[in-house]
Amino acid sequence: MAQSVKRVVVWVEPGTWEACVSAAADLVPGDFEAQVLLLYVPDDSEDLLRDARAGLWGRGRPVQPVAAPEDPELLADAEALLRDLARDVTITTQLGSGPVERVVTGASENADYLVVGRQGDLTRRGPTSLGKHTRFVIDHAQCRVVIVWPQPAPSAATIPPLPPDDPRR
């Protein structure tokens, strides 16, 4: 019986993309037919840039869009890394726009896995581990979600002990 093609969506973000791409490669070992979508949705830093100028009255400078040449480069880097780790999979890249949490949720519809980076303090285990948008995606995604430490997780000793008044102690 022919297995259906495995589909993995990777949410590519600055800082976490390498770990997420390598996790995606682990999910499709030697799978020739697997399809991996690398999705990057830039944040609203450009809006911030434009709006900061609104306070400069009278300066009359044209509000030109800021070139963001590095954006597609992030996707190109992610693609190159995945190509290295999982030679035979079909890779597609997507530069998304719009509300990031909804774009990611939508793109992962009917996928087998969605790979997202863990957020929060990387020096200890514990909350907060998910940002607002990641929280939304996990709450609303239809597929299995894989959460990845961006770098090797700190030791279990960083988990706080049971409180002294906990009855199970």
């Binding site: 450009e46 709006d51 900061a52 609104a54 306070g55 300066r59 009359g60 800021v66 040449p69 480069e73």
Partner: protein
Amino acid sequence: MLAISGLFLILVLAFAVIRPRGLPEAVAAVPAAIVVVVIGALSGHEALAEISRLLPVVLFLAAILVVGDLCEAAGVFRWAGELIGRGSGGSGKRLLLLVFVAASIVTAVLSLDATVVLLTPVVLATARTLRVPAKPHMYASAHLANSASLLLPVSNLTNLLALRASGVSFVRFALLMLLPWLVVIGIEYGVLRWRFGSELTLRGRPVTSTSTRLPLLPAIVVGAMLVGFVVASSVGIQAAWVAGAAALVLAVRALVRKEVSLRSLGGSLNIPFIAFVLGLGIVVMAVVQGGLGTFLGHLAPTGNGLVSLLLWALLAAVLANLVNNLPAVLLVLPLAAAAGPLAVLAVLIGVNVGPNLTYVGSLATLLWRRIASDHDHEVSIGEFTVLGLLTTPACLVAGVTALWVVGTVVLGGT
């Protein structure tokens, strides 16, 4: 008469907020200024006096903006971006520190315009090259454009407007504002480090390549300009001449090297901006003399104690947040000037730091943008406002307290 000139002021401010068809703000301000003089709300003599008071100030800023633009054309900002990118070694925390240093220096020396328009895009590009989240660094740059504009008279148009009213020299201004400047930057740094703690722990890739070298002549000219400000102030020459000379040297260099065209140089000089400030100044003066000054006088604190200084800063910050810091400083300045130099400097802390409270500098602009655009800005407004609430009140109180300490204890009753 107050009602008529008040109406014209509201029209001028509304036009500046809405910017119909992207027309320059001067399109409303200049006719309004002519009208208030024609109807006699302000005598021609007073209007001319106001122009001769404002003109050197605006020319000074215009020259500084040209210097900033020419530094950009020469590659100074590209060089700075590569320097902080390389210095960060791919660490978000170190990048933030370097962005703080760069934004504080650029704002202080080349004015907040240079930080907003020239440095912040470079910061964004640098964060993206390093593959680290850009947000914390963008907020740092946007915030410091306001809060790091306390140090020198040239750092902010509001400072230039207040310099003469304060009656202090260029050097004394810097001495009084040095501690408030450092304290405010320190608070911003602490809050951003704490607020974006998790984003900043993410590591990017270090960059080692350097293609840009510091353009030598622009760096020397800017350094010489700073020394020139100090010298000019001590021998009684208008600092605008120094900035103008620096702009001229850089303009000749850029034209010879074909880095800019004569036309874009004219755009940098920005005549409509000069006309706008002059027009706004005249309309505001008509309103103040028509009776608003007396009204605000009732609100104005008395004395030079810490509490009065805090109240001055609060009044200025509230006005700046309602409309914009430019009309705010023009309105409050005549009153504060009567209360002494420390009151004027407290007002400057209010109008310079205050705008960080609202996303785009003032409630009026914020509301207008909410009406005019669709709602895809909601997320950043929430984020920016939280950051503003965390930093602005603390910066105001600590900055004014530092000013009070320097002004009364260290320098002893300026």
